[in-house]
Symmetry: C2
Subunit: 208 residues, 2 copies
Amino acid sequence: MTGDKPVVYVVDDDPSVLRALERLLRSADLGLETFTSALDFLNFQHPEAPGCLILDVKMPGVSGLELQERMARQGILFPIIFITGHGTVPLSVQAMKAGAVDFLMKPFDPKDLLEIVFKALDKDRQAKWEQRELKRLRERLKTLTPREAQVFRSVVAGMLNKQIAYDLGTAEKTIKVHRARIMEKMGAKSLAELVRFAEKLGIGSPSS
Amino acid sequence: MTGDKPVVYVVDDDPSVLRALERLLRSADLGLETFTSALDFLNFQHPEAPGCLILDVKMPGVSGLELQERMARQGILFPIIFITGHGTVPLSVQAMKAGAVDFLMKPFDPKDLLEIVFKALDKDRQAKWEQRELKRLRERLKTLTPREAQVFRSVVAGMLNKQIAYDLGTAEKTIKVHRARIMEKMGAKSLAELVRFAEKLGIGSPSS
DNA sequence: GCCGCCGTTGGACCAAAGTCCAATATCTTT
DNA sequence: AAAGATATTGGACTTTGGTCCAACGGCGGC
């Protein structure tokens, strides 16, 4: 499943650029989807496979930078490689600050682009894998009852069953039962693992 | 101690720019150190206080970008704000990829710069705090004997004393002793805390 | 009203971990 | 050789945590 063929998405309003990039990327045995506008891309159903985006900065309608922003807001997270004919320093800085992988000026060396694309795909593979892990954990967390979640927080904070029981005004026995259910529901084989899960879920440090 | 007055370091070969920035930054009640060359900055003993660097891209001798690279190699980690009169897109992209906070073109709005500086200082305050935490942990880790370190890894991997003993070919009793010493030396008040320490130290995941 | 989930608890044990005190064998360093 | 750090183990308990089985009251839904 993590071994899906990677897909490169290209968004550019200039068909000739699209064709050129298509030739280049096909030669590297990469999946490819092309779009002539930012909105077309947004309406497209992205598969699970790792991918990256090659994006023209300047396009009629929604610009590349706007698309980047909208994607971030919608949680569509793909590494973005910008290409442009008339880029400026402020534009490139904005794009990079917003997390772009690179920002290339035309004309560029096709070899450079391919190298960047491969790096971006690796990055997305990694990111997607972590996203899936986190999603699984969150789903498991949701199966905890309110009380269990409460005990969960106390357990990973390092409290003893006895202390937790005192805090919640219940018997230590009750905590043991909750604790067992927590380990089971979260799929943790040891306390160490449970703590690591909690860390990934951001339990113990943030506002909470 | 974390409440030290922040210091802004400015490196620019043009004395008039230095003076202008000095006026601006002094007005904001910020500590200030100016340098007319990258090497001067490298030879300077940086205090512990949070700080950031305002750096001219183009300078005779060692350029701003080279300084950024050298700092990274030497582990001198300050947020860097580049300013330049004649920047290009590739230069700004390189700087941003290397971790720069921002890349400003002259002329720029002094208010913008101040805002960026304050953000950079906050960032460094946070980074410095985490660095200190990590340093303390590493020092504690170093006080562990080889055997203890070995047991440490097994413990945070979630193994039972019994299993660890079997792996190492020793008695379970021995592991208990090691374990107690580990908790004491690492200053962990609970297993949960110990696991968190191990996470920060990168034990359990990396090459190892 | 009956069923299922949630939170609760008890009893009876077992297993794992921690605590004191004490002791031995190596190895390195002084 | 003596001192010190390291690694090891035993005995004797105490505390904690986990497991099985069983049970009860409250609450929402069918």
